[in-house]
Symmetry: C2
Subunit: 209 residues, 2 copies
Amino acid sequence: MTKTESTQHRILDAAEQLFAERGFAETSLRTITTRAKVNLASVNYHFGSKKSLIQAVFDRFLQDFTGELSVELLTLEQMKAEQIDAEKLLYALINPLLAMDKKRKNAISIFMRLLGRAYAETQGHLRRYVTEKYGHVLVRFTHLFQKGYPELTNDQIFWRLHYMLGSLIFTLAGSDALRQISEADFNRSLLVEDVIKEMIPFLAAGMKA
Amino acid sequence: MTKTESTQHRILDAAEQLFAERGFAETSLRTITTRAKVNLASVNYHFGSKKSLIQAVFDRFLQDFTGELSVELLTLEQMKAEQIDAEKLLYALINPLLAMDKKRKNAISIFMRLLGRAYAETQGHLRRYVTEKYGHVLVRFTHLFQKGYPELTNDQIFWRLHYMLGSLIFTLAGSDALRQISEADFNRSLLVEDVIKEMIPFLAAGMKA
DNA sequence: TCATTTTCCAAACAACTGTTTGAAACATAC
DNA sequence: GTATGTTTCAAACAGTTGTTTGGAAAATGA
């Protein structure tokens, strides 16, 4: 148990945490390799470059997430249009997230932060990489949304999807910090799952509006 | 007309645009001073440091925004509880934004990008600076929300406010890019105002849920 | 006009960045 | 054992970063 992990694994673990905390440009390879307790040169040896390391971090998360999301979408795709509603669509996104969080501590927060940073990367390398490699799953989600709510125009679907993602990413990315604020102000503790469950009615109401 | 602006003004203009586009760490002082057509040393001369320059950029935006927001809140604060609803609260935020956008081109997109980046700054220097200096306006907004919807718990108010901000910031920060996607996919042009008006029913429904 | 303060500017500074190198250490197979 | 391929490591590389410096230029006030 807790065997010494491989160098690549250790680098990925340290990198994803530091990238989520500080951002890509603000995290130097020396910080990563120090935390991972590996030699500086091993990043370039195993991953080629810092850019490739960033992509590798995303790949590990997104393969896991999109895999589970695809299963959720498959069951929804077999339903009739009347059976599809906003809540079911939301849970198709949230269930894979919660599953990730069970396997790895703070996975949701880290993952959402990374997504937020990828989105902020307006120069777009990373955003393009992510959408080109994993965009097809989002397209399937969009089609289910249209199927469940045929009275909405394509534009409305498109934008409401982004409003929803905005709430999700923004809130869950900051859930650590926000939870602390909430605990200080209202003197009660909150779990990520509680925060998410609080979101469902808000988002569902908006999607149906 | 179009007199040569002061050095500080030119630096602020170049900086806010570049910070919004690329981020703080990704934007060097040399890039800023080149675009502003001023000497490199003038940033440290006029602002002291890069960090102070970032704060100055935020100050210029936030003084403008919170000033106008405060006026909107004042009229709401004179209303009876029954008159306050989600739509009015949303317009209290949105009207100052639209006013800014009229004065300065793409101001909404730039402003929201900056806010998103400040929020992502989890180390927190900037976030703390912003909340400490301008947080009281947000507190007034929260109180109005509570007044209008007394059936909601403090927790619900707190979180729904953040869901709303997430949608707003996320969507409007990327509105340039998203508008392009939307125009390509659905072959119709959109204005920022249209995007915002699309958001109102979504957000209002969620807040009332 | 002269004296004083403010602003500008080219050059240099030390610190840090991602990446490369070549040899050492290790592992694997024969 | 030797030979072969893989992985680690300290050191150095060239480039970029924010900041400082000291003198020139401009502006200000008497």
